[in-house]
Symmetry: C2
Subunit: 201 residues, 2 copies
DNA sequence: CCTACTATGTTGCTCATGACAACATTTGCC
DNA sequence: GGCAAATGTTGTCATGAGCAACATAGTAGG
């Protein structure tokens, strides 16, 4: 019987979600290294072993966070593109700005997302990453159709754009470049990209 | 008195270096997460508390590894550039290829190097990173002098090149892109960079 | 030489965490 | 209603980080 005052039913209801939420906050505040399952359990008010019912081990939770991160990134990008002009340059700019913002506002999460190395079972993460990458590739394809871009494998070109943005964000997140230079760098990168990948006149 | 057979003098001689070496191997084999000071101590044959005399805590060791990593990267880049042609495009290509190789052959180390977030005292790492960045900027400056590049802050342009390469390596290291595409991507990225940053004709 | 003094290692703790097992309570389905 | 699967709980173990007190080895003056 639940205690009327503390209101703690035996079953939490949706511990999994609560864990992911708490984990994301912890990630943001303290980084992945200091994220402890037991902390989350305490914070939520369940026993220290409860998380195990939803995530076999710590890494599984981190993987789930990364996976969700890519989904969110995809959503954010899609939303930005939906609101953007039809002009190819404008669309690339919009995507780039949004990506950069997402990447710097969720630095620790980004790290998690791209740090799948050394785990065999990162298949889900890689799959989740395909959505935003395909999205970029689609934008590229549009650009090629508009004649703004040289022909060629759109995926390859998209990957390079993706990589450039990720690299810039990574340099900012690592304090190698002051944050106030972010926008300028992204802008220059996009300009160069547009110039470098346009058809030979 | 040292035991003649086990040959273990009370003082190791240069534990610090031994620790860094062992740490780098462990990093390469198991990743930063599973790097344990006690493991290193065991492997080297000293007591579990010995590392503390050289690194106040685990993070300090990781920081030292990252710092050394940037030094090595700088050396590798310098060496590649020293052996490269005077031609600007050739120099950029050489640097890019070497960077990409270093980054993918030392994936876990690279991660450490760029993951200084969330630590206040990462000053040394950031400082160490300046060497290779300056090097890139110098190459850019040369290119501008040769007229192969548009004028403008060489640092900014160098950062973008740097970021692009880092991003590509990161995507490969994270298994988001198959390793055999690395060379092609780097090449394309360099071509686009050279086209995108050259002076408006 | 011999005596501090400092650097470097060692032993022995404490504490936290992840992982696991055995048990308890719900929930839902037949 | 009753049984099986979910979901939580308590208890335990192994491991590692960090700290303190102690031991040993170089080293620098006197």
């Amino acid at each position: 019987m639940p205690d009327a005052t503390t209101e703690r039913p035996y079953h939490h209801g949706n511990l999994r979600t609560a864990l992911l939420d708490a984990a994301e906050r912890s990630l943001r505040e303290h980084g992945a290294d200091r994220l402890a399952l037991r902390d989350l359990a305490r914070e939520i008010g369940v026993s220290h072993a409860a998380p195990r019912r939803h995530f076999p081990d710590r890494q599984a939770l981190l993987d789930a966070l990364a996976e969700a991160g890519f989904a969110r990134l995809d959503a954010v990008l899609r939303s930005a593109l939906a609101g953007a002009d039809d002009d190819f340059a404008a669309r690339v700019r919009a995507a780039a700005v949004v990506y950069a913002r997402f990447a710097t506002e969720n630095a620790a999460l980004l790290e998690l997302m791209y740090t799948s190395k050394h785990r065999a079972g990162a298949t889900r993460i890689v799959a989740a990453a395909e959505a935003p990458m395909r999205l970029l590739a689609e934008v590229i394809t549009e650009g090629q159709a508009q004649g703004a871009l040289e022909p060629g494998d759109p995926e390859r070109i998209g990957i390079i754009l993706f990589a450039t943005l990720q690299g810039i964000a990574s340099l900012v997140n690592g304090n190698f470049v002051p944050p106030d230079r972010l926008d300028g760098l992204v802008e220059t990168a996009v300009e160069q990209f547009l110039r470098g990948a346009r058809p030979a006149s």
